[in-house]
Subunit: 418 residues, 2 copies
């Protein structure tokens, strides 16, 4: 097996993974984050809550890798046995740790009546481990070192794992190992399919210095282009990446949504804030998804006012004042309807920009002229409006995601034009 | 390791899995389908496109299991090496298979110009394998048997893998093995924290027959309790699981949201449909999340009308007619405000049940009397209403999820009371 970079293995523990009740999305997140600091994942193993199996998996992983990240099996209930099994593996006992108990009491400080002795058992930790407090949950993170190998056990709850990995584990791994200088630059490209993008930028891609690697990270409707460079001379590296980005800008123009790896709702929120503008929504087929994405961002109340979920035609007519004859003549998924939805919203809610979405998410409701995946979107200010028809795919959830993203991109577009 | 049932292992091959570019959702699908026919997955391993690693993974899997399902690494490009590696493992050569070539020509019959010699290489297959034609793609499925072990290699493209598994592999495995009976029963428990639940049901849990295993699968606000039983005598097994569920019902009562493993929005949608009722929403802190969850379900337009996202107080006042003096006196997160929001919605939108949510999602906006995580929810019909104050945690995203779930549970509650 390759061994240029320090190898890491991931073991996710839980019967629910093996019977397919839960999809293991934690490992992909860990793989991405480890990659960013130059660590290569050699294997991901999902195994049951079974002591013998856990120990065998640890042994086999350490034959290939020097770092082992484990998630799961740390709940307070009987079926979770990771902690006890790690004691067996490292030949140590569980000992009481008052800091963990304090952390648990702190987490429950606003609802002490909910705290019970079983949860307090989480304060018993393997003696051989360095304990890292889990600020998002009751199960502490345990860090073991032995014979030059590192084993870290984290909770499997995705929010807790993500917090622990990015805030606690990665910084420690970085200071622990001599990780090379790796520079990443991510460009968000919107509205160009992956294969078309690959053709459009192939010449540019072929001319990249060989120490700069390009990755296509596609998600519905958007591609993140990630340039990763690894070089001793960090000044040259930064200069080369900057110059590659400048060239890419002239090739892709408006298709570049942002030059940083942030969520689109964060980018749009910052833009609205900087221009002192407010947004309102009129959503039909997306049923609130665009709005829900906007309010993910803390502080979004300064620029997001709210909106109307006009899932039924009644709501389109009664609240947004969409004309009933146009609804009948053109159908709910049509340019005049989204334009009236946006105009109706602007007169209902005091906002500067309105976005209206109406489409056929599927699986039913399609026709020859408007197949599943047809979506009309209108963005409007009090001065102007833009309307556009999209043809997404066959999958309901994906169509909703694509429509929400397209709506946000169009809001950015109308603001950029002002 | 346990060995009551025939053990299966899954190996998914591809560098993209290890750098986190792709989430391995194939394995969960395979786990579910295998489980249904009584085959237990003992480990899922994701490994790179590396011959040495592939062979080691096969050897280690066969130490634990007698059946090995592999996906991926079967494309025509240089980086895919699974087929060649299987030849090494089974000491055989690649041989030309005219049926595979015919299948490829058939797949490309409407676009023969796209077919190239690289794709035609897919017709070379390991001599030691039984070949199963892939009706969805160019890479054939290969089935190997040796020393009582079975190895099946399938494409990693999800649509091809799903077709191959359900149409070709599972029927062959069923006729090949005497599969035992495995029964799963999942109970959704709402509103009781995991450790409190564990205490409440500990006596019941300890009295379960030893061939019935209990797993706690927690998610924000909800716990899925899964009973899994494996026994030759399927009549006894079903009877024992049924009787355990009956006992659990009397212990947990209303905390049982459903006795099947489905999403809450599906359960609620079915309930609304069966009662011929419609739902509308007035969401503040959740910003559309509850609505967005409701419309995930295909066909939700028959019972979900839409709603108002009253993120700002202006929208609460102007659209939902919440009294400005009450907003000032009590604050937006208060019982009278959510009650007025629900009442306002019922008069704006023709729906039978309204759910209104207002809370402090965080991280800012909390106070001593209303800390972050305080959420008021009101559900109302034209006859009655229920209001309740919740105290969730400190995390914005989680608070929103908990509030959306609590709102759905309260909608179910008011309908159940009718």
């Amino acid at each position: 097996m390759k061994s240029e970079a320090a190898l890491v293995e991931i073991i996710t523990i839980g019967d629910e993974l093996l019977i397919g009740q839960v999809i293991d999305s934690n490992s992909a997140f860990m793989g991405q984050e480890l990659n960013k600091i130059g660590l290569q994942v050699s294997q991901i193993s999902s195994i049951p809550d079974n002591a013998e199996h856990i120990i065998q998996a640890i042994e086999q992983a350490f034959e290939r890798a020097s770092i082992l990240l484990m998630t799961g099996g740390l709940g307070p209930t009987k079926d979770d046995i990771t902690k006890q099994t790690l004691c067996t593996f490292f030949h140590c006992d569980l000992v009481f740790n008052s800091d963990v108990l304090q952390n648990i009491h702190h987490l429950f400080s606003d609802r002490p009546h909910v705290l019970n002795p079983l949860t307090e058992q989480q304060a018993f930790v393997p003696e051989a481990a360095t304990i890292i407090q889990n600020k998002r949950g009751t199960a502490p993170i345990t860090w073991f070192e032995q014979n030059g190998k590192i084993l870290v056990s984290m909770p499997g709850v995705p929010s807790e794992m993500k917090w622990a990995l990015t805030e606690e584990i990665l910084p420690r791994l970085k200071s622990h190992l001599k990780t090379p200088v790796i520079v990443h630059k991510t460009i968000l490209v919107y509205g160009i399919p992956e294969s078309a993008l690959a053709i459009r930028i192939s010449e540019w891609e072929n001319q990249l210095p060989e120490y700069i690697h390009l990755a296509y990270l596609p998600s519905p409707g958007m591609i993140r282009l990630r340039l990763s460079g690894c070089l001793e001379d960090s000044i040259t590296l930064h200069a080369d990446i900057d110059s590659a980005v400048i060239q890419l800008r002239s090739i892709l123009g408006q298709a570049i949504l942002a030059e940083e790896d942030r969520a689109v709702e964060v980018i749009l929120g910052d833009l609205l804030k900087s221009k002192n503008l407010t947004l309102g929504t009129a959503e039909s087929c997306t049923g609130g998804l665009l709005s829900r994405n906007m309010v993910r961002v803390p502080g979004s109340s300064t620029y997001f006012k709210g909106g109307i979920i006009a899932y039924s035609n009644e709501v389109k007519e009664n609240l947004l004042k969409v004309s009933s004859s146009i609804l009948q003549a053109e159908g709910a998924v049509s340019q005049p309807v989204v334009e009236q939805m946006a105009a109706g919203l602007l007169s209902l809610i005091h906002c500067d920009v309105a976005v209206a979405i109406s489409g056929i998410a599927g699986p039913d409701g399609g026709s020859a002229s408007k197949p599943v995946g047809t979506v009309w979107i209108c963005v409007a200010t009090r001065q102007k409006s833009i309307s556009r028809r999209f043809q997404f795919g066959s999958f309901r959830e994906r169509n909703m995601e694509m429509a929400s993203l397209a709506g946000m991109a169009m809001v950015k577009e109308i603001i950029d034009q002002q």
